[in-house]
Symmetry: C2
Subunit: 338 residues, 2 copies
DNA sequence: ACTTGGCACTTAGGTGTGTTGAGTGCTAAC
DNA sequence: GTTAGCACTCAACACACCTAAGTGCCAAGT
């Protein structure tokens, strides 16, 4: 029972099943793949593979389909990531380079990835944790209402409208801005709250209550994890993928919509050697995704934020992984440039 | 063949069918509703209703189901919008009042509406067309790279990073800001480009090229229709609704994802007397929504932006319409306050 | 001029019975 | 360790049959 051939058989089963969506039998296998042996031999190998829990038969005497464990072995030891075709690469570049905004870049990225893989694509907003304060702007919108804007080094702009004492004037805000700016300019976002604490105490009494209000919202803005947001595309692909399994589409949609679930999922996904991380079927912590696989990888500085796709366990791992990796690379590059 | 009773029969059919999801027959009708007549009489009425195209039989000798036209008559002439229960109203208020950001308000709104109706909820960003310029901010991020921020009276903040001549200094930007601000402060957003045109010509030669770059991006920002975006929630409800019709979920998801389609749909929906507008089944211009209904209404100043829900034609129109109306009202109120 | 009971007719859907075909497991020979 | 052969299993399909729900229509009743 030669070990390499057994792996070869597993590969063949995975590939055929992904392609045909139907359990694959020994005879069909020897016909489609040039394994140099007869169907009986394959049957023996398949029995072994089944014993190891790598494949399973939906019912006695039908073809076999890979188990989660089988897919796992496939992606870990057998599959090779297929590079994308040149036209595909060109398309990615062209599309992403046309974007202007950070929002726009991310939006284009997910759409692209969804179309490329025919699956649901997900991208997480880049982390701000490593960014620092570039600028603060305070604007009096109306008596008692001010706009606080925080601009960070990575180009992200966050704003919030805040209630202030009615007697606050434009020049009070200007003073305050100057005061705060001297203290926190260049400070890493996570450290902003501590810096501000001392800073507010230094204020003259007349500015105390105004400073409290503004300072509080600045703290919120610097903590407001914009990275706690994800963008989706290609949910319609789910309908096609799960035509035969209409039962499971509901929970999957729920998971996708509950950003918390997706965020936890993405953040829990470590990175393997290649930088691409795969969760297959029940490896997913969330029950609704028991029949789904997630392929994700980091991007941007430190590869902290994630980009990836979600699809049925029965998916074309090699090309999907290639697409995710390629898109993540281009995305990182675009973000570096700006 | 008394006319009022026929309408009563139609109402009963619609209500039963929405409730049971199964074709409803004459006998079941007289049992569940206290119409004072026998099933044979109902059968005669049903034959009439069918002749008028208001109901139809899936196959010979089965119960009847309403047609699009039947639903249309139902919502136009029969149904009465049910007011929400007091606890529901309280929940809406509580949830919406906790929001801080415009984004946050809209996000909470769709989620709320989706949960309330058990359908897919949609909200369009409020129009900026009627807003005017409150403030302009220019920040030099790095040599050759500046951030342009445009703040409008309704509290919306838009920003963009733009390339500028490398020799531009902070104080150049400050001058420019002052110059532009004097000219366009208080100007309606759609008029900004014209004002800027003249304004740039006035600049001293040294600021010309910088002014061009900044002015151009300001024009873009003022034209960037943020209202061309929609927010979704509750797509998972689609899966439940269409359990029996798994065929049609794909096109619906596609439509939802193609913001262009949804935007056209929403903008084409006029307002009837009550301010709530309903599109039933094939009344929808987009083919993928042939078995879906959309209920929408305007909100905010001038009721230009839309909020609504999308579900199967077989939906509970009275309560859904009530929910949409209530949410739109609270939403308008919240936006007024800020 | 409606309404109603009665009756013949239609049909989706459930159930029972073969039949077929793909596929397996096992054994004995190579 | 491989292969041919063979008995066995079981989903899927087809066919026949029956039932329940529902209709359309007619003739009689109010």
């Amino acid at each position: 029972m030669s070990e390499p051939r057994r792996l070869e058989v597993l590969r063949a089963i995975v590939e055929d099943y992904v392609h045909s969506r139907e359990p694959v039998g020994s005879k069909a296998l020897v016909e489609r793949h040039r394994l140099g042996v007869s169907s009986a031999t394959i049957r023996n190998d398949m029995a072994l593979l089944e014993e190891e829990g790598l494949i399973t038969a939906p019912h006695t005497s039908s073809g076999r389909i890979p188990t989660d464990k089988g897919y796992r072995l496939f992606v870990d030891r057998i599959a090779e990531v297929k590079p994308l075709s040149a036209p595909e690469k060109r398309a990615i570049r062209a599309l992403l380079e046309g974007a202007d905004d950070l929002d726009d870049v991310l939006d284009r990225t997910v759409r692209l990835l969804a179309q490329l893989t025919n699956q649901v694509a997900v991208v997480q907003y880049p982390h701000l944790g490593t960014a620092s304060v570039r600028h603060i702007e305070l604007v009096l919108l109306a008596p008692g209402r001010a706009l606080v804007v925080l601009i960070s080094t990575n180009g992200a702009v966050q704003q919030r409208v805040v209630s202030v004492p009615a007697e606050a004037q434009e020049n009070d805000l200007a003073d305050l801005r100057q005061h705060f700016l001297e203290r926190v300019s260049g400070v890493r976002l996570p450290s902003v709250p501590q810096e501000l604490g001392a800073c507010i105490a230094d204020l003259p009494p007349s500015l105390q209550s105004l400073g409290q209000a503004i300072g509080h919202s600045l703290e919120q803005l610097s903590a407001a994890n914009r990275e706690d947001r994800i963008v989706l595309a290609g949910t319609a692909n789910l309908a096609r993928s799960t035509l035969d399994f209409p039962l499971t589409i509901g929970p999957v949609l729920e998971a996708l919509e509950e950003q918390v679930v997706m965020l936890r999922l993405l953040s829990e996904m470590g990175q393997d050697a290649l930088g691409i991380s795969v969760r297959i079927g029940r490896e997913n912590p969330y029950g609704g995704l028991a029949e789904a696989s997630v392929i994700a990888t980091g991007y941007g500085p430190d590869s902290l934020a994630k980009v990836g796709v979600l699809g049925p366990t029965r998916m074309d791992y090699p090309t999907t992984m290639a697409a995710v990796r390629a898109v993540a690379r281009y995305l990182s590059r675009i973000l570096d440039e700006s």
